[in-house]
């Protein structure tokens, strides 16, 4: 009993920073949801304006057959687009770092691609590309591409100058410099790009769905939101929205985890302070 007490005195669980990092956001979430529920019930708000969190969860369960299917469609487009953006982005960065000339010639077009709102070009892509799923993947990839290009290019260039001299002194080939020096140096930047792009590919997928407005079997969450809006089925709208947010959070957490696994221990961004 005594030993147990002493032990818990030495390390009260509420002081553990790891637990704090989980407990605090959850506490805030619970409080917000409680306030939301309280306001909806207290002010007697009709569900077609603001549904209560309870109603939202209920709708999520009753409409799961439809929403689950839609979620799967959106996730599929997101993941495909993310994969395409990653592969394409990395390839383009490799081309960019081959010479400053290539980069300065092409980089403005990468920026152009980035600053042009996807809603503005999405209709074009949807007209040009017959298959709706493919056209949505293209839209989402375009949104997610830029952070990967810019981060990976920056990373491949961010090599410690003395280390680069060391490789030069040892007459390392271009390939050796790329493989043994540039790529490892670029990894932290690359993963930073991945984290941003994972969220962007979801946004891109949702925007593309909105523009495409495809119903039927290929209907994703964005289409469900549109439909629910037309039908004033606000609880379902909220339920779909919740699923999109959760997908984004999950993607971000997964990319953070992956980055920690890949860089674990050596890069300062992944070293937890004590």
């Amino acid at each position: 009993m005594n030993a147990l007490q002493a032990n818990s005195m030495a390390q009260p669980w509420s002081q553990n920073p790891k637990i704090q990092k989980i407990i605090y956001p959850i506490a805030v979430g619970i409080i917000l949801i409680a306030i939301w529920q309280g306001l909806v019930t207290g002010l007697n708000l009709p569900p077609y304006l603001v549904p209560s969190p309870l109603l939202m969860m209920k709708t999520l369960l009753t409409d799961w057959a439809m929403l689950g299917l839609a979620l799967w469609v959106t996730v599929k487009i997101t993941l495909f687009a993310f994969a395409v953006a990653t592969i394409l982005g990395v390839l383009i960065s490799f081309v960019f770092v081959q010479s400053k000339r290539i980069e300065s010639a092409l980089f403005p077009y990468a920026v152009l691609l980035q600053v042009t709102p996807i809603v503005a070009i999405a209709p074009l892509i949807i007209i040009w590309v017959k298959d709706p799923t493919l056209s949505m993947i293209i839209c989402a990839s375009l949104v997610a591409l830029f952070p990967i290009i810019s981060n990976t290019t920056l990373g491949l260039r961010s090599v410690e100058p003395d280390l680069q001299s060391y490789f030069a002194l040892n007459r390392a080939s271009r390939w050796q410099v790329l493989w043994r020096l540039r790529i490892p140096s670029a990894l932290p930047y690359f993963f930073g790009g991945l984290r941003i792009s994972s969220g962007l590919s979801l946004i891109g997928a949702v925007v593309a769905e909105f523009v495409a407005g495809t119903g039927g079997t290929g209907a994703g969450l964005a289409y469900q939101i549109l439909q629910a809006g037309f039908q004033l089925n606000i609880p379902r709208m909220f339920a779909a929205l919740l699923l999109i947010s959760l997908t984004g959070v999950f993607l971000f957490l997964f990319m953070s985890w992956l980055s920690r696994k890949a860089l674990g221990g050596w890069h300062s961004s992944e070293i937890t302070g004590e």
């Binding site: 060391y166 040892n170 050796q176 043994r180 860089l263 050596w266």
Partner: protein
């Protein structure tokens, strides 16, 4: 030594002027024989690092020539000689273990893995880091990281070791220890060493010969022999001989700096 010395390094009126007109180094002549331990000493901006990097072939002289064993540095391999460079900072790959960092020059040269591993074990034992072979650089102290860097410099069995203020960022005690270890290695491996420093004490303790340099513009002003026997122990650092050499270098450094002020006026 009774055989006639072989020149390991010959600097033939090499100079460096940057494209913006800054004279980093006036024409310099210097000959370093095989087996010598020569220190380049001087205030910052005197071109000592520039000279060292030109010897390594990292910088091209604006004019003049540099020869290693009577060949341009690019043809060093043809005479069967090897050179290593140790930077001011450890310049290790943070993502690779100590072992892999040390093995890097062998990997780059495409040396058979088994032979390379054996060589790595050997040098890690030499610098006393065998226990840390699997550690990442960030787990080591600054002094230990520098030892890894030196191990990486030695793993190729170099004939010429170029060191650019390698211990400048370390504390006094660690620096003394590494200086002593370096002397031991130099004797054991019969290396030729060019060592850049701004510490008079380090220069006297280590070298056969000290080359004093001055700044603005960078140039060689004087040379000093330190004809004290090796091995040099810590007692040497408190001996009268040591102080006399240090005093001589100090005076020379003052003269070099005085000349510099004249230059300003």
């Amino acid at each position: 030594m009774n055989h006639s010395p072989v020149p390991a390094v010959e600097v033939l009126s090499a100079n460096k002027t940057y494209s913006n007109g800054t004279q980093a180094l006036l024409p310099v002549d210097l000959r370093i024989d095989e087996g010598e331990f020569v220190t380049l000493l001087g205030p910052s901006g005197c071109g000592k690092s520039t000279l060292l990097k030109m010897v390594a072939g990292l910088l091209d002289p604006t004019d003049g020539r540099l020869l290693l064993w009577r060949k341009p540095v690019q043809q060093l391999a043809e005479v069967g000689k090897k050179m290593s460079f140790v930077f001011q900072s450890p310049t290790l790959m943070p993502w690779a273990t100590v072992e892999k960092n040390v093995r890097l020059p062998l990997d780059l040269a495409g040396i058979d893995a088994q032979m390379a591993n054996e060589k790595v074990r050997e040098v890690l034992a030499l610098v006393g880091l065998s226990k840390f072979a699997k550690s990442l650089p960030r787990a080591l102290s600054g002094g230990m990281q520098m030892r890894v860097s030196i191990a990486r410099g030695l793993v190729t069995d170099p004939d010429l070791l170029l060191m650019d203020e390698p211990f400048g960022a370390l504390d006094e005690i660690t620096r003394h220890r590494l200086d002593a270890e370096l002397l031991e290695l130099w004797q054991k491996k019969k290396l030729t060493v060019i060592f850049v420093t701004h510490s008079i004490h380090e220069a006297v303790y280590l070298s056969n010969r000290v080359v004093m340099m001055a700044a603005r513009p960078g140039r060689i002003v004087e040379e000093f022999q330190i004809p004290e026997p090796y091995p040099r122990h810590t007692d040497f650092m408190v001996s009268t001989g040591f102080s006399q050499h240090a005093k001589q270098l100090q005076d020379s450094l003052m003269r070099a700096s005085a000349g510099q002020e004249e230059h300003f006026s």
